[in-house]
Symmetry: C2
DNA sequence: AGTGTTATTGCAACCGATCTCAGCAACCGA
DNA sequence: TCGGTTGCTGAGATCGGTTGCAATAACACT
């Protein structure tokens, strides 16, 4: 006697079989699920019960096709290998499915063609909106080529276009925090190493550094303004080659801070004993770096939630907001009092 | 005079409008795209040209709905914040869309309910197959509750079930590499800190360590067998509390190696001067750690490609393979000659 | 010329929902 | 008792493709 495992030939559980099983029309089943108030509660419960029993769930595909709107929302990032985006992705996944969305992670590797592809794909999937994390400027330009562009929020500043909602953190404030921290430790000569190219955020941080340093009467020392992952390494090299190097370094983001410290270490320089280094991002990873990284924390989790809220808000009332969040200083072990 | 941007009221570009525009029936257009050889090349080219002109692309939704198979394939990982999974995701995205698939990243955060949800979702989306990266054992158990289970490849060993294709790296070989390296540097007392809980891989590495150490006549010293991110920290604490601590430490994966080094550093111990530490993973990040991490490299990119190949292979000829890859030693700066 | 392929294309049903429109019953006030 | 609401459910078209089947055209062979 063979026990027929129910999984073997399920006759493709569709709305119709549920309807038949419940003795109602398919439209009623449909309503029972997606517009509960339009069905007599008695009927609805019966249907739901039957559906439950059959193990039925609606096909998101068919639904999306008909409704012309799905629940999958793309998060477009240049590089998931960068912990900043990874953390963003993590919190956004959560934020997304708290609201019943499915986050679809799209990695462009900085290739604009790729992001174009994702845009069209998402459009075809009837994504209700999308989120774009700091990518190159051209990426965000591309947005506009798509109708989809009116339904996207960007986690970066977008120049000359207020029509797209954005959420960012106050770069100037962040740099100020870093600078103040370093000043309070006695440092006056503070270098800078730049970050991800092409993003307005990177630009803003750099500008803020330049401006604030000048304001305080010191001379800015840009150790490297490059964009790639090796900026840190080059920055360190530059530093080592200087006659009179700064006593502290601000890195445009945690990843380059890591690279700077690593490169410095290879040359026998210790952080924070010999040089203080401060990052910008507040990655969880930084807490386990050697030494634990002092950094300016961005509220990444908040950014994720807010991005989605902004998108939803725009969807209902068409409003386009620009939220700027406050960064916060996270003192760990990579900075210390200036010692002569 | 207003230039009507073509984007404004596209009458919902469907296969029918292309058909009309090309003067053929919708089915012909369909074939022109998905079964080129079934259409006179002349006609096909004409259709394609027309479609191109209109900027038409097929709706993946409608396609999937009818064909009962889509091109989106899920990659299920416990935590994208862990660089190992991030790197895996990166190479897999690439491998996927080299073959015309769309990778859908699913993060479970170790929550089995979540992965269940993903499984059903993917089933509903008609994913042709899926990839599961080392998660807890129960996760992989869950696979079997789904018809989908017969179309998934796992990046981890799966106990007592040969029916699911797997790709792994030889843990024993990896540990051996690490041990040999350390031995060759003069270390004889070598500790171990464990990794991600619940995966067979973690288990295997630990077993290999235990076995190989015993074989070489030394006594194994498991500094921590925990699973969470703090295993590294605890391992280091344990190490520091020992009367006669090992001179080298093998970490079950790079992330815990980082944590170990960081914790050691906070207590004034330097790597590799005071202790040698070797990781397991070969993360790109390790090259920028302080010091650059010596580690056993897993061919992550290969794993990604192979996983997809395995899945496709199973799809066509039903074969179930178990590929085990060779790890390789990556000597960087966190290990050094034993000094008395 | 007659008949048997073979290559192309059109027809129409179908995938699994949604949604507008109608139909019908119960309910309300006059 | 009757027209008018209101509440609930069924019909059927539709979303954008796919595909088996039938029809026609083209070509080969005797």
């Amino acid at each position: 006697m063979t026990i027929s495992t129910e999984e073997e030939n399920m006759p493709d559980l569709s709305i119709d079989v549920v309807a038949k099983a419940a003795g109602v029309h398919r439209s009623t089943v449909s309503r029972a699920f997606s517009r509960p108030e339009a069905v007599k509660s008695e009927t609805r419960e019966h249907i739901l019960r039957v559906a439950e029993g059959l193990g039925y769930t609606m096909s998101p595909l068919a639904q999306a096709l008909r409704r012309k709107t799905s629940n999958i929302i793309p998060l477009i990032v240049p590089d998931i290998t960068n912990p900043f985006f990874a953390e963003l992705a993590k919190t956004m996944t959560q934020a997304a499915d708290e609201r019943g969305y499915q986050l679809m992670l799209c990695v462009t590797n900085g290739d604009p063609a790729k992001s174009d592809g994702y845009f069209t794909a998402m459009q075809a999937m009837y994504a209700p909106f999308g989120i774009v994390a700091p990518s190159t400027k051209v990426d965000t330009e591309a947005l506009k080529r798509f109708a989809f562009g009116h339904k996207v929020v960007v986690i970066d500043r977008v120049e000359g276009d207020d029509s797209v909602p954005t959420v960012t953190v106050d770069s100037r404030k962040g740099i100020m925090l870093a600078l103040d921290h370093l000043h309070s430790l006695g440092h006056t000569s503070i270098g800078y190493v730049s970050g991800i190219a092409g993003t307005h955020t990177a630009q803003d941080r750099m500008d803020a550094y330049l401006e604030l340093t000048a304001q305080s009467g010191s001379t800015p020392v840009v150790l490297d303004s490059g964009s790639d992952l090796d900026a840190g390494t080059r920055g360190a090299e530059h530093f080592l080659a200087m006659d009179n190097p700064p006593t502290a370094i601000i890195a445009a983001n945690d990843m380059v801070a890591f690279a700077v410290i690593s490169a410095l270490g290879r040359s026998g320089l210790r952080v924070p004993e010999d040089v203080s280094v401060i990052g910008f991002d507040g990655l969880a990873l930084g807490a386990r770096f050697n030494p634990p990284l002092t950094t300016v924390r961005q509220p990444i989790a908040d950014m994720g939630h807010i991005a989605i809220e902004l998108a939803e808000k725009q969807n209902v009332d068409g409003s386009v907001d620009h939220i700027v969040l406050e960064p916060e200083l996270l003192v760990r072990g990579s900075t210390s009092e200036l010692r002569k």
